[in-house]
Symmetry: C2
Subunit: 348 residues, 2 copies
């Protein structure tokens, strides 16, 4: 063989958002798997579970009782990783021991009163109600002058550390910008300064032209497997309009976000006929720190599964110590997701 | 409360090797756990397994037959992520689609002919023989002018993606320096340029003075929980002498490395009375690319367990999207490891 083939030869690809590379080893997907297999997560859940601390009218860890809510329900995390009243400190001992106090507010959002649903099983209007709550909560948190960054996310599935299957997400907000966001800020700014448009505008246009990694598209959003995806079925939803955060979305855009969320997560469930686990979350510009015209709203989906409902990708030894690594190509993953139906397997 | 308490208040700490912060939330360790629990991995294994592709005299995936080896045994990975003969390519499409071919050699090292052992259960001379092999393999790989970085590592335990319990590690070598190493190179260089000593020399001396996070010490090595540890029981072995890579170790140093490896991994097993899973690996200077006086050999241990043999830390949503996060403090973790016996629980 004389010429390089991106579909079969080992190579690295640059994640233009983080500035870090992923190692792609396409030929390695033939490797047999004799290691750990996961639960396939097929249990049926009741629509109401008297022992669930997220179900309406139940009691939570701190003794509070949930209201009989009909859409979504938001409360401050009973075991928040960040607290509002942490005293300030800034430590630097000989450039070796460097620490700083961090304060913040952590919230939990139950997406639905129904214990047995997940996003792909909810109606578009019900998902739209969740998007409305995300927007409202983002606005309320940004009113605290000291909050500089707001992370909206969801851990779905026990394999992703989710300790309660009741559909819910979280928001962690804090007074400094976390490490992944700093990387994305830096690279988006460099591109914007050089080209006068946001990096993700140019990227999405190029991807739409190529039409190789696109999963879904509507008037306002695109869902695709990024060229530099690390996780086997990693995807990203990007707004067509370059907006800095969720506050800019119109009612129509919020409905289109709900619609693309339903379609993408339905394809995910249909890929392996399982409630597809992932961690997902929005990346948005910092708040209360000026204007960031280079920042382009997007939402990452990081799912762990590789070959089936029970075989995941392990990001371990080489990946932790040296470099993220993947076996199947992003193009192959996109093709698999494009082949999936948008009718949920439970309804077929 | 008026003043900041590092043992109880949320804060970030800087990893001086990577330049990235970890969020520490000590107050959160009281959180109850209702999520996924892992297998506790207590099975007894035979000393020889006829179905194991690493045991002496057995056949491997490619049809080769293992020799009847008595210490360790090295071969090229039958499913290598990197290959020697990959054609060269360097792609950059509009600063959006950036890729480069990567070539390398991946090897597997069986640590012992005994299927039922792990490092802490091996004798110091038997571990010393493994260190000798690491040194020999490093030297042989570095003879290829085109190889620029050599990653020696071990994935231990099914939870860490290890698909065969026979004690073994891996070496992946390649023609570019991976992302984590670039970070560590940059920060070590800055420190060395400013202070004229390696960052880890200064750090280890300061840690020895404080004696708060030290687990083991001998004439040549220190094992400690780094101030910036991300994983609950993350540790690091650092050589007292600032050497760029394993080739510099004398026979006495190799024996002392074997000894500290046995003591550290024995404490790990005793922490939760289980064969303690981890990914571990050495970080060393790039090869065939000049001199790196700032580089200081060290070995990271990234273990996933948090509270018991079955409850791990999930680095998921917030951690993947924003910032690594931990609950227990590095000081608490160090104290727990210091309290563990250095006699393996199976021998008590
Ligand atoms: O090479 P192995 O043992 O087959 O595979 C294991 O280690 C590799 C290197 O860390 C990872 O890429 C794999 O995900 C993991 O399962
Ligand atoms: O907040 P939860 O759901 O209790 O916990 C889960 O999500 C958090 C945020 O990603 C992680 O820190 C935890 O490790 C994970 O188990």
């Amino acid at each position: 063989q004389q010429t390089f083939e991106i579909n079969s030869d080992p190579h690295t690809r640059l994640n233009i958002l983080t500035g870090e590379r992923v190692l792609v080893s396409p030929h390695r997907s033939k490797r047999p798997w004799q290691g750990q297999v996961e639960d396939d997560n097929q249990e049926q859940r009741p629509s109401y579970d008297p022992k669930c601390y997220l179900c309406p009218t139940n009691e939570r860890a701190d003794g509070d009782v949930n209201p009989d809510y009909k859409e979504s329900f938001v409360f401050v995390n009973d075991f928040s990783a960040l607290l509002k009243d942490t005293p300030t400190a800034d430590i630097n001992e000989d450039e070796l021991f460097i620490a700083e106090s961090e304060k913040g507010i952590c919230k939990v959002i139950a997406f639905s009163p129904r214990h047995d649903l997940t996003l792909p099983e909810m109606s578009v209007p019900a998902i739209k109600a969740v998007v409305d709550v995300w927007q409202k909560e983002f606005a309320a948190l940004a009113e605290h002058e000291w909050i500089k960054y707001i992370q909206i996310f969801e851990n779905k599935g026990a394999i992703m550390g989710c300790s309660n299957p009741h559909p819910h997400g979280q928001i962690w907000s804090q007074n400094h910008v976390p490490v992944e966001l700093k990387k994305e800020s830096k690279n988006q700014k460099t591109y914007f300064d050089n080209h006068g448009v946001t990096m993700l505008s140019a990227y999405v246009q190029a991807e739409l032209r190529k039409n190789e990694r696109i999963i879904e598209e509507n008037d306002s959003f695109v869902a695709l497997v990024p060229f530099w995806a690390s996780w086997p079925y990693e995807t990203m939803i990007v707004s067509k309009r370059p907006v800095q955060n969720i506050l800019a979305f119109t009612d129509q855009e919020k409905e289109q976000l709900a619609s693309i969320l339903k379609l993408l997560t339905t394809r995910y469930d249909n890929l392996f006929n399982t409630s597809f686990p992932y961690s997902a979350g929005m990346h948005q510009a910092p708040v209360n720190s000026g204007d960031f015209p280079e920042w382009h709203w997007h939402m990452h989906f990081y799912p762990p599964l590789l070959r089936s409902a029970t075989v995941k990708k392990f990001m371990v030894g080489y990946e932790m110590l040296a470099n993220p690594q993947r076996d199947i190509t992003p193009e192959f993953a996109a093709q698999q997701l494009r082949n999936c139906s948008t009718t949920h397997y439970k309804n077929v």
